[in-house]
């Protein structure tokens, strides 16, 4: 090969390198431009900030349920009677995740014993639980009494009492644990909460 050809080839490989480098840097720059736009669509600072709610659980009568709002999402507070607490046990075989271990959202640091894992409440009589069906986010309907007596064939024959989500038929027991065969994959989520006074909880 002549000397001239060599230097020509080199000039063109240099040019190709410069093209590639410029295009690469340009592409990275263009991609970086997307960051502020993507970030602008994520929850804003004030949406993230408003994140605790206080509630006096004693205002819920025994056997009754109340829905409150935390971070824009509903939370159920159930005052469980001794009879209802009894209904929680004895049907572990029907549950997808009886001990609430599947994902972090369904458990809490205070779930230190088997009893706490089945009652899913710091004080067993007051259940504080997310009201959002883990399937597609509807709010399930409370059907606390066992069997079909009060609900007809909307619930299975061996219904232990709990919630039925009308949207696609998910079932949960009285601790918000999902029953096998439901489209919902997980137990109702456990919001972070603690007692700050005798009967007042702080959620968040």
């Amino acid at each position: 090969m002549s000397k001239q050809d060599d230097s020509n080839a080199c000039r063109s490989c240099r040019r190709e390198f410069l093209y590639a480098a410029a295009t690469g840097v340009g592409a990275v720059g263009a991609a970086a431009t997307a960051i502020p736009f993507v970030r602008a669509m994520q929850p804003a600072a004030d949406t993230l900030a408003a994140s605790t709610t206080e509630f006096d659980v004693a205002t819920v009568e025994p056997g009754m349920i109340k829905a409150i709002i935390w971070r824009g999402q509903p939370i159920f507070i159930v005052h469980r009677t001794p009879a209802m607490l009894k209904e929680i046990n004895g049907h572990d075989a029907m549950l997808k995740d009886p001990e609430s271990r599947a994902i972090p959202e369904v458990e809490s640091a205070w779930m230190t014993s088997d009893t706490l894992r089945s009652t899913r409440a710091i004080r067993p009589e007051y259940l504080v639980i997310s009201a959002v069906c883990t399937h597609l986010g509807c709010i399930p309907t409370f059907k606390p009494t066992p069997g079909r007596k009060d609900w007809g064939d909307a619930v299975p024959v061996d219904w232990p009492g709990g919630w039925l989500c009308a949207c696609h038929g998910s079932l949960y027991d009285l601790s918000g644990r999902v029953i096998k065969g439901s489209p919902a994959p997980f137990n109702l989520h456990m919001p972070p909460y603690k007692y700050i006074h005798d009967t007042t909880v702080l959620i968040g």
Partner: protein, 405 residues
Amino acid sequence: MIKEILDSPIATWVDERTHAIRYVRYHLLDYPTPKNLNYWYAFGSIAIVILAIQILTGLFLAMSYKPSALLTGGGFTEAFDSIERIMRSVNYGWLIRYLHAVGASAFFFVIYLHMARSIYYGSYKKPREFLWIMGVAIFFLMQAAVFFGYLLPWGQMSFWGATVITNIFGATPIIGHWLQEFVRGGFSVGDPTLNRFYVFHFLAPLMLVVAVLWHIMALHVTHSNNPTGVTLKKKHIIPFHPYYTVKDLFGIALFFTLFFYFVFYNPTGYGFILEPDNFNPANPLKTPPDISPLWYLTPWYEILRLLPSKLGGIAILNIAFILLFLLPWLDRSPVRSARYRPRFKMMVLLLFSSILVLGYCGHHGVSPMLTWIGRGAGIIYFCFFLVLPFVHKFEPTVTLPDGEA
């Protein structure tokens, strides 16, 4: 009349400087069309008319609508109140809103018939693959448009429909949770969601216009198929104007008769056009007992709930849609029209019935019986695509009418 206008000195002056007149001449007047197109071929023109109606009425609604979920003195929200104001106080607001709401249902009605026609006559096949793909893209853009639009009145169905669908995004593996908050702009559907959905609702029809233009560009390269599916000889080709301008206008007139019956006499369409629950303001603490979507989305909603698993339902819905895109490559028969493919004809009719049955099940709440009927229909839907690549081998030979090829 049209000829005089297009030949006028002004038109000639414009054409010499822009070519605008020759575009009109080529695409609207002289455009070559088969002489045997039946009324199934009018739905394309009708769909364009509806798109125009949606954009026009949408712009006027936007002048009085307020995309805000903030509470008002009356205890509702600004969005909900602004719709009520359109209905009661804005001059002819009721008419504009009903045109828009009935228009959305009419759009899907017409597009479903248009798609059914394309499948039946094999119009998706070579060389019209791109035309078909743009069509499916238009169908998805329409679903996006109604999904975003349906949140705007901020009624119960608006709120819970958006909640359920954004939860579906949440089930995407790995990025699901991030994606869900990204779409909602918060932990739940709320004011930020309404604001952005309004913007997307505005944007979708503009993208639709671009997609429709591209659809028509593809059509005007490959030209219309026809009920025989055979490429016709030159002597069977006639100009678009006046033959199809007049035929399509007559089709549009028939369509308008039905359309305005609903607009003026039955704007809620027995709950199929405007759902009764959506006249209740959104309540984040209470899901309505039955949250099925509007009729035109129910077949797809039913596919979503066929499997008792969240991810499974979403996966098969995606497959159901991807199969639509792949149709031109799944069908390997050289014959286009179902008229000359008895086996394919049976399959197509089964496919259409399965979609109707899926829609029926999706419209009703869950019950064990409907779940099984829905599953049966779902299996038929998927079997269509599964059997399609092989069916031509078992097709009896039928003599095709005389064509060019």
